[in-house]
Point group: C2
Chain length 154, copies 2
């Protein structure tokens, strides 16, 4: 769905526009990051890139992930554990998350009605929405018949 190729193009463009330089670590980091796929933490990205380039340290990864976000090829998410996580992301497309508490599956949604209501609520306060975080946690109505159901944790 998200192609490294497209990300490379975008990143290249961004760097060109801002007078930034293409480096081996940036190339490798983007590759590693896109191969990882999911919600990668800085440590996870670092560990993987070090397999190819042992010299790379935290500073470079932090700086590079920030660059990726600015270039629009990554999205930063902060979960409850306090550590930032990144997901491959292209352009302006955005989605919210619907998380099943019974099977851990994550569905994505983007609802125009909700977006519109958000804008209305904002405008009542003289505000214009810039971005938002919307996570819905839910239970399965299929009960035990749901094939994806995970065993209860406790």
């Amino acid at each position: 769905m998200y192609s490294v190729i497209e990300a490379q193009r975008r990143l290249g463009l961004h760097m060109q526009e801002h007078g930034l330089k293409r480096t081996r670590q940036r190339d490798q980091l983007l590759e590693v990051f896109y191969e990882f796929g999911g919600h990668a933490s800085v440590d996870e990205v670092l560990a993987r890139v070090q397999l190819r380039m042992p010299g790379v340290g935290y500073a470079t990864v932090y700086r590079t992930m920030k660059l990726f976000v600015e270039a629009g090829v990554a999205h930063e998410r902060k979960f409850q554990d306090g550590q930032a996580r990144y997901e491959p992301h292209l352009g302006d497309e955005h989605h919210d998350h619907l998380i099943c508490l019974d099977c851990d599956r994550i569905f994505e949604f983007d609802d125009p009605v909700i977006e519109a209501r958000q804008a209305e609520i904002c405008s009542a306060h003289h505000l214009r929405p810039e971005h938002h975080r919307h996570e819905v946690y839910a239970r399965c109505t299929l009960g035990a018949t749901c094939v994806n159901r995970k065993p209860p944790t406790r």
Copy 2:
């Protein structure tokens, strides 16, 4: 709306049940916290309690806010600035947040249209919403004329 009295009762009960002791700092912190009203950071609570008890330090505030959450008289919220904020909380009532990026003010909302859409989206996936987190970050449309505007960070 939220009564300190009820919070004191709740906290007292919790401490009793867990063999914890009632102290002057806990009393004062609960009062100060409830007087503050909304979304207090640890620094804000500390500053206010020090007006009454100059000796109190961060450690006590952190430990006490944690106790309040466990006792069910406070809710912890983590917004994107990285620092935890607490709000007085009793019972099950819920609301979402609208955060102004220009002045840091936090508004609360609870929109039936949005709640209804959430339920519809869930049901399309055979799910029933249990809880959610919804934060909208927005820019002020009043621009520089907004009296609450904070100076740009960089």
